[in-house]
């Protein structure tokens, strides 16, 4: 089974609308990372959450961490065409050095 489940798998949103992407872990979250990937390009770091209840914002993107539910949400307000891409959540593997474990990603399409 997948350690990190992202929902939805894909999302089509009209420009200007709000949207939420969820990331649920089957294991304890020691740190949760959000990345954005434009099609055919590398991963761009968005935010990192470490503490339960932590909330961070960058421009129109807000991410929250619910440690008890082992879940994080990414919320985009007033979506724009520049928000289109693949959003990936990644969790630290128990504090070890073996990198991040990623979810399968959420494909976001913004319709004009």
């Amino acid at each position: 089974s997948q350690e990190l489940e992202q929902s939805p798998q894909s999302l089509i949103v009209q420009e200007g609308k709000n949207l939420t992407i969820n990331c649920t872990s089957s294991k304890t979250l020691y740190g949760l990372y959000w990345y954005k990937q434009k099609y055919g390009e590398g991963l761009i770091f968005l935010m990192m959450l470490q503490k339960g209840g932590e909330e961070k914002s960058h421009e129109k993107i807000t991410a929250k961490l619910d440690e008890k539910k082992q879940q994080s949400s990414l919320h985009i307000t007033a979506s724009q065409p520049s928000h289109a891409g693949i959003y990936l959540c990644g969790r630290l593997s128990g504090g070890g050095a073996d990198g991040l474990t990623f979810g399968k990603g959420t494909h976001l399409i913004i319709q004009p």
Binding site: Y33, F45, L88, G99
Partner: protein, 113 residues
């Protein structure tokens, strides 16, 4: 800063050929990683390194080898290319395990025919 640089960006290999994917970072990061990304499958860790001279296997190491002779470079070697190795490969680096973002390269798109 250049960040993490990967070369080449694209490559087509024939079955059985070998090649090295290059990865260089100029941020003095100790930790470096190789991932592969297949459609609909997310990123899978191939190998990682916590410093020069130290490497370890990730989730999907079969068919690959790595070396880390310097802090800056972490090449990934494919010895006998197979169609199953058709994928997009990403190199990443970080200062440490917690509290630091991972910086990714722009990827190498490899096709094995």
């Amino acid at each position: 800063n250049a960040g993490v640089t990967q070369t080449p960006k694209f490559r087509i290999l024939k079955i059985g050929q070998s090649m090295t994917l290059q990865c260089t970072q100029d941020m003095n990061h100790n930790y470096m990683y190789w991932y592969r990304q297949d459609p609909g499958m997310g990123l899978k860790l191939i190998y990682y390194s916590v410093g020069a001279g130290i490497t370890d296997k990730g989730e999907v190491p079969n068919g690959y080898n790595v070396s880390r002779s310097t802090t800056e470079d972490f090449p990934l070697r494919l010895e006998l290319a197979a169609p199953s190795q058709t994928s997009v490969y990403f190199c990443a680096s970080s200062y440490g395990t917690t509290g630091n973002p991972y910086t990714f390269g722009s990827g190498t798109r490899l096709t094995v025919v």
